[in-house]
Subunit: 338 residues, 2 copies
Amino acid sequence: MSKWYLKEGKNSDLVFSSRIRLARNLKGFPFPNKMTDEQKYSVIQKVSDAIFKSELKDEYKFIDIDKISEIEAYSLVERHLVSPEFVSDTKGRALILKNDESLSIMINEEDHLRIQALYSGLNLKKSLEEALKIEKVISSNNELSFDEQFGYLTACPTNLGTGLRASVMIHLPALEKLGVLDRIFNNISKMGVAIRGIFGEGSKPKSSMYQISNQVTLGISEQKAIEIIDSITNQLIEKEKEAIYAFERSNLEDDVFRALGTLKFARKMSTEEMFKLISDVRLGVSVGIIDIPIPVINEIVLKTGKAGICLADNVTLDADIRDSKRANYIRDRLSLYN
Amino acid sequence: MSKWYLKEGKNSDLVFSSRIRLARNLKGFPFPNKMTDEQKYSVIQKVSDAIFKSELKDEYKFIDIDKISEIEAYSLVERHLVSPEFVSDTKGRALILKNDESLSIMINEEDHLRIQALYSGLNLKKSLEEALKIEKVISSNNELSFDEQFGYLTACPTNLGTGLRASVMIHLPALEKLGVLDRIFNNISKMGVAIRGIFGEGSKPKSSMYQISNQVTLGISEQKAIEIIDSITNQLIEKEKEAIYAFERSNLEDDVFRALGTLKFARKMSTEEMFKLISDVRLGVSVGIIDIPIPVINEIVLKTGKAGICLADNVTLDADIRDSKRANYIRDRLSLYN
């Protein structure tokens, strides 16, 4: 079963992923921060039963997050399958993961259930369908905490209502270079939509990747929420495509090919440099300068993080060795493309 | 007839060239700075006659330096065939050039004759033989200014005696990085030998190329002069080879392959960057990290200078266009090597 990021979706040159996250809780249990260990294991059992006794059972695997190595745990974070918080305290928590990694269910994170669906390119509708499909399987055996007036009840009131967070991760290198993102983001934020770089403020790698997500979960339907994100994303795609004309083509080509040359030849590479160079290569693909399949680019980003690169050895390697292994992996992965 | 720099000589990975320059004057004429135009043309005629009526005539061509374009003139400087001074005032001057560019005779530069022989790698003896061979042809028809006590008479007293300048151009990236060159050069200068970067002080490209040449022309034989340069060069070769062990091999490999990757992929390249990257690639060849023929490297350096890159069009191109053409030429030239 091919991983979700190995597929090309609509606008997947610019849109890395469309993600839906549903916050859900089981009736009859306190929220995780108030639960006993026994209650936590009980929730894990009930959710597992629902999935692994259903007809979907072969598509999913159960991961006892408390029993895997730190490397394995952080590689899940790097692949966007779990939150950093989820693996920072693993007791009484579990993960149910679809084999293609397009769907993951964090059990006992902030809520009993955090159902997440990922899709390559811009397709929030499809992600929502997938998330709702597995929610239906779970709720067939378990009653969810739902209030007629408020909607789904959640540990944090910011998720109350739909419990839905729709987000897309989008590559905006041209708008970023033009220095117009602040103004654009300012306008977007007035629509109840958050946009931020995918790395925190401080030492952010220059990946030019931004996450757009809805902030409102109350008094708005799921469909309306994803429609807004969808519409903003389409506008950003148009703006990004226009912005690219502000740059001299020959300079773009030089930047793109230099990035590709370095990725194909370097013997050591930090994650920070990888993010920057991959961003230039992705730009090259989206403006038609080079022809490298987007899935190849996605795979490099998702597999060469600090944890991902240690996964084969399952021990924490020195930075220098990681940098060598990362460069080797990238070189190998790009060997077919010039 | 293959150009001299397309041959591999002894230590040609480190030693770009062995050069001999003989300063000679014809009896019966003042030095060029005191000559009339008529006298200058007369000297040109006499020297040309000697060569083009000899059996060597097919190996040489006559270049009327006053009739070629500025681009052609400066490309001769870049290929080390004439001095910058020679082409700065071309009236009454001429060049006789061997087809393989290993031998050039500047007529009416500072002296009537500046005979220069170039050889790939370390072989000053061979260069001297070649220079003396053509001197013999010229002097068979022309009496040279020679004094029993002083030797060959020259316009500037610093050349009096042998009129010989022996120089090697050597690549010393490891010693340079270790920061020990100043100390070494200090010791060498005490032996009457000059050593300096091949580019002037100010805005020097980081080519890591140094020129070693004798300073003494009086009271010393030609053989002794080249022996000293030969011996110092051999010592520098040994020191450079030892110095390389001070560097982590994996870092060297990374530097070398990154340089190669950029040279093979960039769409624009300045001469300054070319010199720096070619230096890294040459280092990679000399320590066995990559296998690119030295002649290919030499050709890139000699043909992609500011003038050389304009030679095909024979007009001065904009810097941006030069940078594109340079990158294209280099990419093409390196396309076979990975």
